[in-house]
């Protein structure tokens, strides 16, 4: 793993995506994407539906194989050594992968076996996502928001250094959104946890992100710090719309 210095700050790459390409039969997918996420960054991945956000996230966790290109997490190639690459990473991609017949605690215990994690950590993550009172309830009886909280608990379980969250605010109530937002900021500040977060709600991402990446039609349109993105635009939403409209205009031409 290479460590770079930029402006006196240590830049330790956590995620390195190089010329990633993944096309589906319908022509959709990711055409060319290169992205480096450094330690402590909170990267908001923005893009319209079908732009390739989830495909990218699936490829990061090895769920889908790239047509070409490489993806490395903490310097470990996902294609070559998935066990090592995912050791220090947590994921919430699309709907939370939860076994409905199992309780919240059983779901976490099943996942804990991969990391040598004890019951105290399970209790802690249940407490973090405020599901402790419901830990013995079957997951299929949970509301959408509770399932989302359990999905976040599963991602946090191993206390990973890198978290990939695909639309983490889905289904959460206002209090839940604020709570998860504060949790992301706390993990970043206290532990230097790195985040790649996708979402459609630009104002929400603006509150937590240090960087933004805009993806459109399978290409990375822009990757900048939040300050850089807001330099000529009043909000992240305006920045995003300006980029997408410009890209759609150039496609029409």
């Amino acid at each position: 793993m290479q460590t770079n210095f930029s402006g006196g700050k240590v830049m330790q790459p956590v995620l390195e995506i190089t010329n990633f390409k993944k096309l589906y039969r319908n022509g959709r997918g990711v055409k060319d994407l290169s992205l480096t996420v450094n330690r402590g960054d909170i990267v908001g991945l923005l893009g319209p539906n079908g732009s390739g956000k989830t495909t990218t996230m699936k490829a990061i966790c090895g769920m889908t194989a790239p047509d070409s290109g490489t993806i490395k997490i903490f310097g470990n190639d996902v294609a070559d050594n998935i066990e090592k690459a995912l050791e220090n990473a947590g994921f919430l991609i699309e709907a939370p992968a939860i076994y409905g017949a199992a309780t919240a605690e059983q779901n976490l215990k099943m996942a804990a076996g991969y990391y040598n994690i004890g019951n105290d950590r399970i209790d802690k993550v249940l407490d973090i996502v405020k599901l402790s009172p419901f830990k013995n309830d079957r997951a299929d009886r949970f509301s959408m928001g509770m399932k989302q909280r359990l999905g976040i608990a599963l991602a946090l379980l191993s206390n990973p250094g890198f978290l990939v969250l695909d639309e983490p605010f889905n289904g959460l109530d206002i209090e839940g959104v604020v709570h998860i937002r504060e949790l992301i900021l706390k993990l970043s500040e206290e532990y230097g946890t790195t985040f790649l977060i996708s979402g459609h709600i630009a104002p929400e991402l603006e509150k937590i992100c240090t960087h933004t990446a805009v993806i459109h039609e399978g290409y990375l349109l822009a990757y900048d710090t939040l300050d850089g993105a807001l330099k000529f635009h009043p909000s992240l939403e305006d920045y995003y719309l300006a980029l997408v409209r410009e890209a759609e205009g150039s496609i029409e031409l």
Binding site: I98, M110, A111
Partner: protein
Amino acid sequence: MRKFFACLRCETKKLSLRKKYTVFSIIMAAICVLGTLLSTLLSKVTVSAQLKFTINMPMTILPMMTQFVIPLIAIMAACDLFASEYHNQTIKAQLMRPVSRFKIYLAKVIAVFLICAAIMLITFAAAAVCSLFSGTAENVPYSLGAYLLDLIPVFILILLAAALNQITKGPTSAMFLCIVVYILAKAIGVFVPVMDGLLFTSYMQWHRLWLGTAVHIKELSSKTLLLLGYGVTLFSAGYWLFLSREY
């Protein structure tokens, strides 16, 4: 190996959470008890000594187990761990963990085998206890050997069901395809005798080759190699399809 066992524990836990497998075990044990009660009752009402009913319950119930019940359970469990998980996307819970696809596939196959073996052994235990009351307890060690040997072709059937699950789109179609292929293989064995010896479904009562009166080494080795060939081919095909699947 720790990650493989974590995966295996996870898969067996998922199957154990489904009540239908417990229900199957209870039904099979109940059939053993009812069969013994019926045979005892019949032997008491029969006057003639020649018509005395003494049932060796473990061996009486074994053909039903290996031909129908266990194949059905193997197919159901394989569909629960593969097609159902693809359908409701819970397969992602494993794929997002630091464990290789090979370990996931192997753990799923072995978990299905373990549930089949557990139901086989529970049925055997119930039948063995019943045989103590029907006076056929001396056959219990032989029966145990037969039950254990018959688990070998069950494993091959599980590999077939796992491979078929990779080419279907949902749990219903996977279940249907597995059952149709199993019935078709059985039917071919019956109606095309020349094919009978080549199909692994003809060896579901594997113990007959090993525990018969005369053991032919040449036949045993050729049929063992045949099953091994099926096992290697089906595992490789299933794993390759699992590996190349998009989630």
